[in-house]
Symmetry: C2
Subunit: 215 residues, 2 copies
């Protein structure tokens, strides 16, 4: 428990390096140095660099509760507050890193242009675990959201907004772009809350009118 074994040291170091520098820019030499491990040991545990990445992604997946959700939801009970508390966590990561990095999974997902199937599957699994957690929040919100609302689809939209917001903030190096995305999402949720408050009554079906031909 105190002195982590070699394999674990490698995975933890890799997690940090991939987060800070990305996968491609992290060399085996970087990793060996950081973990204080020799080349021979690494290749004793892993067939190659990509397999270290797989282990890292598995660790993210296994630790989503302890590493991400629990800290983000410390002292937050309301399910809808939880949604935005999680987003606030990413904001914090952006601020602390001067808008360099926030979501390690998203960064890897776009860095690796043609990831092999096992990598891609693990990225997707991480995203799914994330949306599962948000879906639970939205379900726990009960009647405060429209009954007809698709909780899972909405949860995915929260992830979409987070990842998109992070991308913009990173590119502009200004956290305000992330804030803007969250603000818009909040407006959307406010609209949903209003709909739930007036359940199925009044002028539904009054979408944005189109002048030109639709589609």
């Amino acid at each position: 428990m105190d002195a982590p074994d070699t394999r674990q040291r490698l995975v933890i170091s890799a997690m940090q390096l991939f987060w800070e520098k990305g996968y491609g820019s992290t060399s085996i030499a970087d990793l060996l140095k950081k973990a204080d491990v020799n080349s021979g040991s690494l290749y004793h545990f892993f067939p190659g660099k990509q397999d270290v990445l797989l282990a890292v992604l598995d660790m993210y997946h296994a630790g989503i509760r302890q590493m991400l959700l629990d800290p983000a939801w410390q002292g937050v009970d309301d399910p809808l507050d939880k949604v935005f508390a999680l987003l606030a966590r990413y904001r914090q990561a952006l601020v602390e890193s001067d808008c360099f990095y926030a979501c390690p999974i998203g960064s890897l997902a776009l860095e690796l242009h043609e990831p092999d199937a096992p990598v891609r599957e693990r990225l997707a699994r991480n995203f799914s675990a994330w949306t599962d957690a948000i879906t639970e929040c939205l379900e726990a919100a009960g009647t405060r959201l429209p009954l007809a609302l698709d909780r899972r689809a909405t949860a995915r939209f929260v992830l979409t907004t987070m990842e998109g917001g992070v991308m913009l903030a990173r590119t502009y190096r200004e956290v305000s772009y992330f804030d803007g995305a969250v603000e818009q999402l909040k407006l959307y949720f406010d609209h949903l809350g209003r709909d739930a408050a007036a359940p199925a009554s009044r002028s539904r079906r009054t979408p944005v009118r189109r002048k030109g031909r639709a589609r």
Copy 2:
């Protein structure tokens, strides 16, 4: 016009390669082969590989109308239809590439973990040109959107949604994740349209109620 000169051939080839394989995975050798140019010629025009990237980003920026907006808006006049027609263009790119790639700027933005200032500025400039175009559409929509709505912030949200949706679709290799993001955005716009239809009347300020402490 017919036989593009060497420099142009390099930039066009680079644009395509960076899109397909990413910047890091495109080697100078790849580029020379594709453009049918010799090493000496490349380094005659460009100090290094990164400067080719700068030229590519400049070309995207200069050609946003001809290369992106004009084709997307072929036969579309309604300003709000234009918003979704542009998104449909990205969907098409996803479908045609089996969800491998869609937005070259976004891909580069996340691939390059710590891009040098000139690169980052050009990425940001491209995003800004994109949101400018959408902002114009939203302004042209006039009273069909709430007067109080921040057009620019909403345009950024459209970009956020597009980029986030592309990331998810790429990761899951399923265009339905992009469709889901667009669908949610459409729902949001429908809500906005309803608000505009009932201008400033009726129960504003009925956001999602919170049970726990706010913030």
